[in-house]
Amino acid sequence: MRAGMIMAASAMLALVACGEAADRPAAPATDRDGGVVNLYTARHYDSDLALYDQFTAATGIQINRIEGNADQLIARMTSEGAASPADVFVAADAGALWRAQQADLLQTIQSQTLDTRIPANLRDPDGKWFGFMRRARVVAYDSAKVQPTEIDTYEKLASPRFAGKLCVRSADSIYNLSLTGALIEAWGPQKAGEWVKGVVANMARPPQGGDRDQIRAVGAGVCEVALTNSYYYLRMASGEDAGDREITQRVALGFPSLDGQGAHVNISGGGVTANAPNRDNAIKLLEFFASSAAQEHAARYNNEFPASTDVTPPPPVDAYAAFAAHPMAVSAFARRQPEAQSMMSDAGWK
C-alpha cells in the first residue's frame, strides 16, 4: 500500500508535469520577445476568450490571464507587490477599479486613442482606468400589470404603488451598491436614504438570487417590478433557454430616469498596473478593448452597451441602445459604495 501510494504520487506528478509542459510555454509570464501581456480580469465570459485571440492574431502579443473576483485580484496584486507580473487589471464595476486605484495598483496612462474613444465620464480623470462597456441598472416589469410611466423614475420604485411588489437582490451586489452610490451623489444622503427605506418597505421577499432570478420572479408573479442589469434581460430574451425566452415575452425592460437625465450606468473597464512589466503591450491591450471591433464583439456576445458613441451595437442590443444614459462620472459613485452599504444595512436591506 505504501509503495502503491508513492508510485501513485510520482505517477501523478509526472502526469501533471507532462500535461502542463506540453501545452504551456516554460515561463508564460515573462516578456521574452516583447510578445506578452499579463491580464488580471474579473470578467469571465467565454466570449472574451475569442476577443483575446483576436488581439493575439492582430498584434502577435500573447495574453496570459488569471480570472477572479476583483477584490481577490486586488489582494493578490497587493501581496505580489513590486514583483507582480500583472500588466492590466480589468473589473466589471467602477467601484472595484476605484479600490484598485486607492490601493496604488494602477498607473496613469496617456493615450490619445483612449482619450478620444472613451467618453470623459466613463474613465478616471487621471487616466488610471477606462470604461469599455456600459451596463445600465434598470427595471424589469410585468407588462400586464405595470405601465411604463409607472417606472420611469427611480423614485417611483420606492413609492407605495409597489408596496410588496418589488424584487431586489442583496445589498452585497456591487450593482445595487453602485446604483445607491449614484443616488447619493445625485440627491444627497437624506433623499437617497429615504429611497432606500422605500425600497426595503416595498420588497416582495427577502433579497435573494442574482439579477436573472429577479427577472424570473417577475415572470412567476412573485413581484411586479425588479431591479436588474440590462444585459441579463437581453441574454434571457435571446438565449438558449426556452423558459427564459417565454418569460421575457411577459416581462419588459424599462429605463427609469435619474433627475430626468437618464438611467444609471456602470462600466466594465480596466487600467494598466503600477508595476506593469510589459507596459507598452498593456496600453495596446487597453486600446484594443476600446476599439470598435472589440466593443461590438462584447455587445454581440455579452449584450453590454458599447462605451464609444460611434459603435453601432448588433441585435438584440441595438433595440435598446438609444436609451438615455445619465452623464454622471462613474468615478463619482464608485467611491460611494461603502457609504451606500452602510445606508442600505441601516435600512434593513440585507
Binding site: 497587493t78 514583483a83 442574482g210
Partner: protein
C-alpha cells in the same frame, strides 16, 4: 493519538535522526502559517464599518447552520451506517458503498441544482401552480434550505466514519449485550454508539467545519453567514483586515470545539480485549422492516445525489459546452487532486504520528479547515507574499504557482486528512509500539513497519476525502492559481456568478465523474478494512 497513558513509547528518545519529530514540525508549520497570516492581517489595519447588528446576525446564522448540519448529518449518517453494517435487506450491498457517493458532489453544485429545481420561477413550480393549482411552500434560498443542501453534501463524512467504526467493533461486546438480554436497538445506543463516539465526533466535526468554511454554496443561496461578512468587508470596504477579523471568533469557536472533543475522548481508550475477529452478526430484515430500511437508504441517496445531479444533467445536456476548456480544466483538476491528496495525507500522517509530542500543533492544524474559505485565502497570501518577495520571478512562473496551490490545499485540508489518519493510528495499541521499539526499531521504522500498515484503511479514507475536497476547492484556487490555469470548480463558479446555470452544470458533472470512481474504490477499501479480513 490517545493520550491516556503515562508511559508513552513514542516519547522515548530514539537513535539517529529524529525524522518523525522533524516531519511533524514541518506539517505543523505548513498548516499553521496561513492562520498566523490571518492573525497578522487582522492586526494590520482598522476593520470595516459593518454594523454590530449585522455582525451578530451573521454569527447567529453561522451557528444555527453549523448546529442544524451537525445534528442532521449525525443522525442520518449514523442510522445509514448502522443499517448497512448490521442488517441484511434488499440492495444492502449496493447502498453500503453508494451512500458515500454524495461526497463526490460539490456542495455548490447541489446548491445550484436545488435552488434551480425548486425556484419559484422554475419549470417544476410553474407547472405545479398552473397544473395542480397549488405551490410548494419551499424556499431553498433560506437557512433551512441551506442546512438541507449542506447536510445532503456532508452526511457521507459521518456515514463513512461510522461505517468504519461499526465494522471494526468487537463482536464480543455485542454478544455480551445480547446475552444480557439487550435488543438490537439497545445494543446500538448502549454499546455500538458509545464505542463509535470518536468516529462520530470526527465525522460530525468534518461536516461542521465544511459548513463553516463553505464558500460557493451559501453565497449562491444568499444565506448571510460570517463568510458574507468576510466578503463584504473585503469587497465593499476594501479592508482585508476587517475581512479576516470576522474569521477570528470562528477560529476561537473551532479551537474550543476541538478542545472539548479531544478532552471528551482523553483517557477513554477502548482497547479490544479480544484478538479474535469474527464476522459481525447480521440480522435479516423482512417485510415492512426490510422495506423501511431500503426506503430510508433510497431516499437518502436520491436527495443526496440522484435528484440534484439528475436535474443538473437535465439542464446541462441542452447546452453545448466549451469542450476544450472543460477537458483542459478537468486534467488540471485531476492532477491537482491526486498530488494534493498524497502531499496532504503524508503531512497529516507525520502530524498524527508526532501528535503525542505536540498535541497543540495538531489542534492548530485542524483550524484551517473550519476557517471561512475567503478568510483563509487572505491568510494564504501572507506566506505566498513572502515567496513572491524573496523570489521576485516566482510570482509569474507556472511551477511556483502550482506549488503554492498544493501548499494551500495541504494547509486548508489538513484536518480532513488528520481526522481519519488519527482515528486509524489510534487502532495501534501502545503495546504494539512497545514491542517494536523494544526490538530495537527506531520511531520512524516503527511507524513505517507497524503503525502505517495497520492504519492503511484510514490512510485511504484520508486520501479520498482530501482528493475530493481538492476537486471542489474554490477560494484558494481562485486567488493563488497560476496564469491560464483553471480548475473545474473555478469554471463552475464563474458560470454560476455569471448566472449561466446550464453552463455551470457541465464542470460540476465532470467533478462528479472524476470523483465517483474514487469514492467507490475507497468506499470499498473501508468495507474491507475490518481487521482479520
Amino acid at each position: 493519538m490517545e493520550v491516556g497513558h503515562a508511559e508513552d513509547p513514542s516519547s522515548r528518545a530514539g537513535r539517529g535522526f529524529p525524522l518523525v519529530p522533524v516531519l511533524t514540525g514541518l506539517a505543523a508549520v505548513v498548516a499553521g502559517l496561513p492562520l498566523v497570516g490571518i492573525v497578522i492581517a487582522a492586526l494590520s489595519g482598522p476593520g470595516a464599518d459593518i454594523a454590530a447588528r449585522d455582525v451578530w446576525r451573521y454569527a447567529l446564522t453561522s451557528a444555527w447552520l453549523a448546529l442544524l448540519v451537525g445534528a442532521i448529518t449525525a443522525v442520518v449518517g449514523s442510522i445509514a451506517a448502522w443499517l448497512v453494517v448490521m442488517y441484511s435487506f434488499p440492495a444492502r450491498r449496493f447502498f453500503s458503498w453508494a451512500l458515500a457517493l454524495p461526497l463526490a458532489a460539490p456542495a455548490f453544485a447541489l446548491a445550484y441544482a436545488y435552488a434551480d429545481l425548486f425556484d419559484v420561477a422554475g419549470p417544476l413550480r410553474m407547472w405545479m401552480r398552473a397544473g395542480l393549482g397549488f405551490d410548494l411552500p419551499l424556499e431553498i434560498r433560506s437557512l433551512e434550505g441551506a442546512a438541507f443542501v449542506l447536510s445532503c453534501a456532508f452526511y457521507p463524512y459521518v456515514f463513512l466514519a461510522m461505517r468504519a467504526a461499526f465494522l471494526s467493533q468487537a463482536v464480543s461486546a455485542l454478544e455480551a449485550a445480547h446475552v444480557l438480554g439487550s435488543s438490537k436497538a439497545d445494543a446500538f445506543f448502549r454499546i455500538a454508539l458509545p464505542l463509535a463516539r470518536p468516529a462520530l465526533a470526527a465525522g460530525v466535526a468534518l461536516a461542521i467545519m465544511e459548513t463553516l468554511a463553505d464558500y460557493g454554496a451559501l453565497q449562491f443561496l444568499s444565506v448571510q453567514t460570517l463568510t458574507t461578512g468576510v466578503v463584504r468587508a473585503w469587497s465593499v470596504y476594501g479592508s482585508t483586515a476587517g475581512a479576516v477579523q470576522f474569521a477570528l471568533p470562528l477560529l476561537g469557536a473551532a479551537a474550543l470545539l476541538l478542545w472539548v472533543e479531544r478532552r471528551g475522548r482523553a483517557g477513554r481508550r477502548f482497547d479490544s480485549a479480544s484478538t479474535r475477529w469474527r464476522s459481525l452478526p447480521e440480522t435479516t430484515l423482512r417485510g415492512v422492516r426490510a422495506a423501511g430500511a431500503f426506503l430510508f437508504c433510497l431516499v437518502l441517496l436520491a436527495v443526496g445525489l440522484l435528484l440534484p445531479v439528475g436535474w443538473l444533467a437535465w439542464t446541462s445536456l441542452r447546452i453545448s459546452p466549451e469542450w476544450s476548456r472543460l477537458i483542459q480544466s478537468g486534467a488540471n483538476t485531476l492532477g491537482l487532486g491526486l498530488v494534493g491528496a498524497v502531499v496532504t495525507v503524508m503531512l497529516a500522517t507525520a502530524l498524527a504520528l508526532g501528535a503525542r509530542r505536540m498535541p497543540l500543533a495538531v489542534r492548530l492544524a485542524s483550524l484551517g479547515y473550519a476557517t471561512p474559505g475567503a478568510a483563509m485565502a487572505i491568510g494564504l497570501l501572507i506566506p505566498a507574499s513572502a515567496v513572491w518577495t524573496w523570489f521576485p520571478g516566482a510570482a509569474s512562473t507556472f511551477w511556483a504557482g502550482l506549488i503554492l496551490l498544493i501548499y494551500a490545499y495541504a494547509a486548508r485540508l489538513m484536518a480532513a486528512a488528520l481526522e481519519p489518519v488519527d482515528a486509524g493510528l489510534s487502532k495501534v495499541t501502545p503495546a504494539m509500539i512497545w514491542a517494536s521499539r523494544s526490538l530495537g526499531q527506531s520511531e520512524a521504522s516503527t511507524a513505517w513497519a507497524v503503525q502505517l500498515p495497520i492504519a492503511r484503511g484510514a490512510l485511504f479514507t484520508a486520501g479520498l476525502v482530501v482528493f475530493i475536497d481538492v476537486l471542489k476547492e474554490l477560494p484558494a484556487t481562485l486567488i493563488l492559481r497560476p496564469f491560464n490555469f483553471d480548475t473545474l470548480a473555478v469554471i463552475a463558479s464563474n458560470y454560476a456568478l455569471d448566472e449561466r446555470l446550464g453552463q455551470a452544470g457541465w464542470p460540476s458533472l465532470l467533478i462528479l465523474a472524476i470523483s465517483i470512481p474514487a469514492v467507490i474504490w475507497l468506499s470499498g477499501k473501508v468495507a474491507g478494512s475490518r481487521p482479520g479480513h
